[in-house]
């Protein structure tokens, strides 16, 4: 199914209105970075060493590609920070070591697999070869000694889930999928199929002349 896109600017237009509660506004604004802000300098890792961080950044770029985003979400930096602060989300697979160690080992394993499959470090491979390595790791089929100590598929799942959650907590990512659930200070009255309220964004469809056409229905 081809999906629609949603107009830009929805989140910024809503965030200062009374459709958003003060508690929600504070959270959204803490994550909203202006599009014209200078590009983010590569953050200096606190938890990972430089090599592991290079591998992580390369993996992030394939797992959650953001080439279309003027200011990509710093996924690698967020994971590094979480691990440096020793935070956890309430559970881990018993067969995995604690989160920090699991990620260090997993990134080492990813690199071993890249070396075994293509004779190069993971972060210098081209995109399609990186994808091949990642897929092998996801399917538990990747070569490398480290995968004898931690299950490759579980490492992949943990990494992917964390990056995904981080990416979709960014207000501009939510804008991309047309989510405005945060603009709920007055609640919702139109909740049935195809029922939209005035402040819910309508999907737009690219037309032949390059313009956008409103296809939302009331």
């Amino acid at each position: 199914m081809t999906h629609k896109t949603y107009p830009r600017g929805t989140v910024r237009a809503l965030v200062e209105t009374d459709f958003v509660t003060p508690a929600t506004r504070a959270v959204l604004k803490s994550r909203l970075v202006p599009d014209d802000a200078p590009p983010l300098a590569v953050s200096k890792p606190r938890f990972f060493d430089a090599e592991a961080f290079d591998i992580l950044r390369a993996a992030c770029a394939r797992l959650i590609p953001q080439a279309d985003r003027p200011r990509p979400v710093d996924l690698a930096g967020a994971l590094d920070e979480r691990l440096a602060e020793g935070k956890c989300d309430g559970w881990r697979y018993s067969q995995m070591p604690p989160d920090g160690e699991a990620h260090r080992l997993g990134l080492r394993g990813l690199n071993e697999s890249a070396q075994a499959m293509f004779d190069l470090a993971f972060h210098v491979l081209d995109a399609s070869n990186q994808d091949e390595v990642l897929l092998a790791v996801q399917r538990n089929e990747a070569p490398g000694r480290t995968w004898k100590t931690i299950p490759a598929g579980r490492f992949f799942e943990e990494l992917l889930a964390e990056l995904t959650e981080c990416f979709y907590s960014d207000p501009l990512t939510l804008e991309e999928i047309g989510y405005v659930g945060f603009a709920d200070a007055h609640g919702w009255n139109a909740i049935g199929l195809n029922e939209l309220e005035a402040h819910e964004p309508r999907a737009v469809e690219d037309t032949a002349d390059g313009g956008a056409r409103d296809i939302g229905r009331r």
Partner: protein, 544 residues
Amino acid sequence: MEERETSDEDELRRSAAISLQDQSRGMRFYSTSEAVDAVVIGTGAGGAPLMARLAAAGLSVVALEAGKHWSPARDFATDERAQAKLFWNDERLSAGDDPLPFGNNNSGTGVGGSTLHYTAYVPRPQPDDLRLYTEFGVGADWPLRYGDLEPYYDELEHFLGVSGPSIYPWGPPRRTCYPLAPLPLNGAAQLMERACAALGIRTSPAANAALSTRYFQPGVGWRAACTNRGFCQAGCSTGAKASMDVTFVPLAIRAGAEVRAESFVTRLETDREKRVTGVVYVRNGREERQLCRHVFLCAGGIETPRLLLINNLANSSGQVGRNFMAHTGLQVWGQFAEDVRPYKGIPGALISEDTHRPRDTNFAGGYLLQSIGAMPITYASQLARGRGLWGAHLREHMRGYNHTAGINILGECLPSAHNYVELSDELDARGLPKPRVYFTNGENERRMNAHAEKLMREIWTTAGARDIWTYPRNAHIIGTCRMGNHSVNAVVNSEGRAFDVPNLYIADNSIFPSALSCNPALTIMALSLRTADCFIERSRRSEN
């Protein structure tokens, strides 16, 4: 963008939400060095109702809660990340062939416990749920009957303000109606209703403990109607959802109970006769000890057995931590041509119990069906974990978020020797052993899941879904301190009293002998009130 003026209705909601927070003003405080009648550990669906009941009977009650006492209107954002503070985030180790996620999946922290993020689905079990062994020769019977719980269901539905249909199509005839009209059907519910009608499956608006209109609660005050925020699983900021912090907790405080938040219990101290004499907990980094005459342990299906195992208490049966159950909770998702906007309305507005005891099946028990909405981060995370989508595929699928709707089941899970909670040798930041939880779906659960998946896919295909996919899942943590009639194979009796420790009671999902084919919260509350009433009655008899 057009801005609306704040209406009177909004103002009412705001003031109702704020006034609920004033309930802890004027709270009574008890000295730690004088024995109180009851210490309650945990303030969720297990602890809060009995706390209110005991305090109303004139007993001195102190509740110890590990988490904070939130002010929902001020502290709750409509943001999944920010609301992770409501989950039990101390690490648990998940083992077995179907290891369970914890955190946002099933355990809460804060005054109100998991009810801070429950969906407030409150179907009653059906009477045969309590007699699974008699009916099928597997699982366990409950040591009490539906009739023992029924008056509590009646009472709870009226106290909480449950919204539901005027005639509920399943189960025995009801003595009382739901006090409020059902909440409106959202997109997912309409899709499910349409398809089920075509397939001859009966559906009904679900019973939900969120208010469809404003409601006066004796001893608490007015609570405002649900505004269809659809964010029940990450915290209700309006007080419309009957979480314990806006219902039984203020009632208990008004009756003279003290709620001590941010108090993490580590030890239960006993005398030579194995009676609990005091409860040790950590508050503000310091250890404190509350002396008491009785303890009500209501910390949930993992922390309750963990605390007993750490303290080597109440386990002569060897059953503490055993019989761990997690409902079958398979979800089937699809994307539709229609605009669904799955962030609006209570997530599970429509229910069917036609599958309570489906014919021509090869499994014991049954399940119910519910329509489900989705919060974006949770849904994306499930796509990553359950379907393994990444890269451009993930982002492309997520662009269809507004057209996404789901159905899930909630079904029986049999107790089994291979599913249990134990203490690991890994210590947490407090120096206490982390719990390790083993879970593997058995043959019965696998058969039920297969039956349900086929049916749900058929429903979604009929509704016009494309890109249908299944997310394997189990929900709720049940049954690690089972109740029964004999001390040899149960931890507590039918009143929740520990066989080994005469002044220790347990009231939470850990005492369920079987999982029930419905959501557990209403039954946890019913057991909690019943345990309190039995206790009060027993105390009165011994005084006379």
